[in-house]
């Protein structure tokens, strides 16, 4: 076992604080990076030592500056690096460089990152080991006739996707054979315009799927387990907003089959450390492998609350070459956890990012709630970084209790100075379909009539305050009489001088 004594956390915001808390609890010294864009950021207060990147004068964003990060770690003799999520977390080149320089990268091997990061390779890996996949064209479609053939084989509905696309762009759903050739041509045109690459591939389209993912832990001693599933179907434009664990859609048997498939993927790709296998689950209980995320995820807390394990701690322990002492039989899901992402976005303006300063922030940490925040009073929200400020995770013995506790926690959460997605979360949690568990990735689009929650009599109260305020203003206006005459009555001596000098 190579004991890690110091970790550089090459990330920011709530995850940097999260990692630091666990690391410190393990007696590990934490290093954080200070950037010029937020030199007094909240997460810096949680680091034992701060490495100053504010003087760096190149164009590379600080958290992507591999050269300087590696250099800083060597300069300060830091044993390991935890990349968090995003930034360099899934950069195989960075992971390799760490290894080359004798630094422990807390995550999987560069090879796993690379293979699983490439959708084609990942899918081939899955299919060659009999893991269910969405049937597809397995490559780019050559022409409309080819499209028709493949679609016939897969069976409608199908979805055409741009090979170079991503983030939900460049996708077209085709319901019937009559449309396929026209749609294919349109998809190619759009792909060319948006991504400069007309390549398009096809997949079976699953209507109203649920997004189910499994948390994997794998050590360097051939032990691989899964810690149950998370359901992340509440998404908007492919961005997760609310996640929960476990999922109402899984029973014991389905959980075993899917869990085993997840473990299999990790096994055949020789995956180490923490990772997440994503599946789509259709309305008939069929599941399909989508991809594997080779990092710790934003929504990991719901798994932690329900299984009782500290995932960051296990990441560090596995990186130290320790053996996983948890056996699959030991893993139990107790109760229910729901996470609400709190983003600085204006829900009423189509979730446009909201910039500003947090004037006040108030919440109550209880035994049933956990607030992982990256911001505090005085924090500046700028366009330089992601809009996610914090995560509010609530627990309950049952799903109903978890929902009730989430709503209670959201009501106690008060953030002044910026607009957040709190009203959106309230609307989802109050929605009858969410409460009955009847959700899918098209929930936000199809089932939500209004995207933000309105408190009882909210409009009435707003109207009351508005008219009260208006009356106060009217009174004020009467008091502030603007006297223009005084300004026009200019001493003749002065006026004379002014006129002469113009």
């Amino acid at each position: 076992m190579t004991k890690i004594k110091s970790i550089l956390i090459s990330n920011r915001g709530e995850i940097a604080i999260r990692i630091s808390k666990t690391a410190k609890g393990m007696g590990i010294k934490t290093f954080g990076i200070k950037t010029s864009k937020e030199p007094s950021a909240y997460y810096l207060q949680f680091m034992d030592e701060i490495i100053d990147f504010t003087e760096l004068n190149n164009d590379i964003p600080e958290f992507l500056d591999i050269e300087h990060i590696i250099y800083s770690m060597k300069e300060n003799n830091i044993d390991a690096v935890h990349p968090g999520y995003g930034y360099l977390a899934e950069n195989p080149y960075f992971a390799q460089k760490c290894i080359d320089e004798g630094i422990i990268f807390i995550g999987p091997s560069p090879d796993s990152i690379y293979k699983l990061g490439n959708k084609t390779i990942a899918k081939q890996l899955a299919s060659s080991h009999n893991i269910p996949l969405l049937e597809g064209s397995n490559g780019n479609i050559r022409n409309p006739y080819h499209a028709k053939q493949i679609a016939k084989k897969i069976g409608y509905p199908v979805i055409l996707k741009a090979a170079s696309g991503g983030g939900g762009r460049g996708m077209r759903i085709v319901e019937k054979e009559e449309e396929i050739e026209k749609m294919f041509r349109m998809a190619q045109n759009e792909a060319e315009k948006a991504f400069s690459d007309p390549s398009v591939f096809m997949e079976k389209y699953v209507r109203n799927p649920r997004h189910i993912e499994f948390q994997i832990l794998s050590d360097h001693h051939e032990n691989i387990i899964h810690l149950g599933e998370r359901e992340c179907s509440i998404q908007r434009k492919h961005q997760k907003l609310i996640e929960e664990s476990p999922s109402v859609a899984l029973n014991k048997d389905l959980r075993k089959i899917m869990g085993d498939s997840a473990i299999k993927i990790a096994k055949v790709s020789k995956y180490k450390n923490a990772g997440t296998v994503e599946f789509l689950l259709d309305e008939s209980g069929n599941f399909y492998f989508m991809e594997m995320n080779t990092r710790i995820q934003v929504e990991h807390p719901v798994t932690e609350m329900v299984t009782g394990y500290d995932l960051i701690e296990w990441q560090i322990r596995i990186a130290q070459n320790e053996k996983l002492t948890i056996k699959q039989e030991d893993v139990k899901q107790n109760g229910w956890a729901i996470e609400c992402r709190i983003n600085a976005e204006d829900v009423q303006a189509s979730f446009a990012p909201y910039l500003g300063t947090i004037e006040k922030i108030q919440f109550s940490n209880g035994k049933n709630s956990r607030f992982d925040t990256g911001v505090t009073e005085g924090s500046n929200i700028t366009a330089s970084f992601d809009s996610m400020l914090a995560k509010l995770i609530s627990y309950g013995e049952t799903r109903e209790k978890a929902i009730a506790n989430s709503l209670a926690a959201l009501n106690k959460l008060y953030i002044k100075g910026i607009k957040t997605t709190i009203p959106f979360c309230k609307e989802v949690l109050n929605h009858p379909k969410f409460q009955s568990g009847d959700i899918s990735t098209s929930f936000i689009l199809n089932d939500m009539k209004q995207l933000y929650y309105q408190e009882k009599d909210e409009e009435l109260i707003a109207a009351f305050w508005a008219s009260l305020n208006h009356n106060i203003e009217l009174d004020d206006n009467d008091k502030t009489f603007i006297d223009y005459e005084k300004g026009k009555n200019i001493n003749p001596w002065l006026m004379n001088k002014r006129l002469k000098s113009l």
């Binding site: 009489f481 603007i482 005084k486 300004g487 200019i490």
Partner: protein, 518 residues
């Protein structure tokens, strides 16, 4: 004339067509984008029932280019006219995005030019509400010529009547020059954009992906470029801001600003001023707290709040009379002067000077920001701008030195010899060629080199320097400061001093204009 006769019938029909053209569906279109309609903005801006529209029924010019058809709409995409704002006559043009995208054609430009000419002839302020897709391509060079005529009038009116621009939609390409030439620019978050070259062209030429907001949104111009002086959450608040701003200046450069009876007593207790500057000269404080205590209650209206925050500029009232304030902000960058703050201060001083608004300077500046970045980007000429502006200004100018006033920055911040009428200092003032630490390194170089404990010795020397060389009484006794005052007396002294300068006039040198470093 018979109301039911043909003459009236034609009149009414035409009025109906006009009403129909500006119907609720047009208003809804703007609302869906998060914007107000051109006429709704005017309804909010002007006092009830005072707005008179001009040229409402003009029709668009026929395109020279023969390219594309133009709408048969009245007004050619802009609403012009005049009305009263808080009782004062103001001219306005408000571009109508719902008609031909608010694009500027020859007739549209002519309308704007009409109100610009009228405002100048009458000596009244003019407000421009920009919300336009830009030049009307179909009309070709006629559109460009329209723009340039507008810009020329912006320049001809500059310093004679106040000109305010509101950007409440897109303003791209050449269209941004008009606002840039006016005295103040207002923007609203999320719906305002200003840039010379849009994201599409940036993508084509530089292959960079930028959003409208990143390139020229309200935040960018309020915080980074300084082009926008005011940024509001939404249009309604921006319009209220314009009205507030107007109350501080006169309608033209011959008048004095209007007076508001704030009922705030001259000798109200401001003893708290004694507590604001910390004993430790290296500790920062917020100069806005000083400002708030000195001026009439709640009258401070800050300009360019988010840009170059190391200098604070804005309007306020002293016993009801409008003044402009320029103050170093020790809380940001220790209050140093740098390129951006010099430019921000200079433009504000020159506006006040043009419109007979007295200037109060609150000084606490350790010097200019050192470094390659500042030097290579010309801090020398930009710092000189502020000096030129102060020196040239012939309005009553009063300075109060709150704490540091070192070197070149001392000269620049309205010192006595560049025309300060009254220069006061607080007992906490430190006036010297150089700050204690720097001076001590030079004056006592040998002693420090040979010392056993240079750090302690340095501290001793610095304290000695502060007490004996940098104290304000030396400057007072030599006449460079008129009086060292008790902070608690500041408000009273300033009101009395400004009152005495009411009829100040300085004969400007007879020249076409100076050559301020640009």
């Amino acid at each position: 004339m018979d109301i039911n006769g043909k003459t009236y019938k034609d009149f009414k029909e035409r009025a109906n067509r006009f009403k129909h053209q500006n119907g609720p569906d047009k208003i809804k279109k703007q609302h869906d984008k998060g914007k107000l309609h051109a006429r709704e903005r005017l309804a909010l801006l002007f006092d009830k029932d005072t707005f008179e529209e001009l040229d409402a029924f003009v029709t668009s010019a026929t395109p020279d280019t023969g390219f594309g058809k133009i709408d048969e709409a009245f007004g050619d995409g802009v609403v012009i006219g005049y009305g009263r704002i808080d009782g004062r006559l103001v001219y306005v043009f408000s571009q109508d995005f719902t008609t031909m995208g608010g694009s500027l054609g020859a007739v549209h430009a002519k309308k704007i030019i009409k109100v610009q000419d009228l405002a100048l002839r009458v000596g009244a302020p003019i407000i421009g509400i920009n919300d336009s897709g830009g030049a009307r391509i179909q009309e070709g060079v006629a559109s460009l010529a329209g723009y340039t005529s507008i810009f020329h009038r912006n320049v001809q009116s500059s310093g004679i009547i106040p000109q305010i621009s509101m950007i409440l939609g897109p303003a791209a390409g050449g269209a941004v020059y008009s606002p840039a030439l006016t005295d103040f620019v207002f923007m609203a978050k999320r719906t305002s954009f200003m840039f010379l070259t849009g994201p599409n062209v940036v993508k084509e030429v530089l292959n960079e992906d930028v959003s409208f907001d990143e390139l020229g949104g309200a935040e960018v111009h309020a915080k980074k470029s300084g082009v926008a002086n005011f940024m509001y959450e939404d249009e309604e608040n921006a319009i209220l801001g314009v009205k507030k701003l107007l109350s501080f200046f006169p309608s033209n450069n011959l008048e004095n600003p209007p007076y508001i009876d704030t009922k705030d007593k001259k000798d109200k207790n401001v003893d708290k001023l004694r507590d604001i500057v910390p004993d430790d000269p290296n500790k920062p404080y917020d100069v806005k707290k000083v400002i708030e205590l000195i001026i009439d209650k709640d009258t401070f209206f800050e300009v360019s709040e988010h840009y170059a925050a190391n200098i604070v500029v804005g309007f306020a009232r002293l016993e009801g009379k409008s003044i402009g304030i320029v103050a170093n902000q020790p809380k940001v960058l220790a209050g140093v002067l740098d390129i951006n703050s010099s430019i921000k201060g200079a433009r504000f001083v020159r506006f006040c000077d043009a419109f007979n608004i007295p200037i109060l300077t609150l000084e606490d500046v350790p010097g200019f920001l050192p470094g390659l970045d500042q030097e290579h980007n010309g801090i020398i000429k930009h710092g000189a701008k502020l000096l030129f502006a102060f020196s040239e200004a012939s309005v009553p100018k009063i300075t109060v030195i709150l704490r540091k006033a070192y070197g070149g920055a001392f000269c620049v911040m309205n010192s006595k010899n560049i025309g300060g009428d009254y220069n006061f200092a607080w007992p906490t003032a430190e006036i010297a060629v150089m700050g204690p630490e720097g001076a001590v390194s030079i004056l006592y170089r040998k002693e420090l080199q040979n010392a056993d404990d240079p750090k302690v010795l340095r501290k001793e020397f610095a304290a000695k320097y502060r007490n004996e060389v940098a104290n304000p009484y030396i400057a007072d006794e030599k006449g460079y400061i008129d009086e060292v005052i008790d902070p608690a007396d500041t408000r009273k002294k300033l009101i009395t001093a400004f009152d005495s300068l009411e009829n100040k006039h300085v004969e400007p040198p007879s020249r076409k204009h100076g050559n301020i470093p640009l």
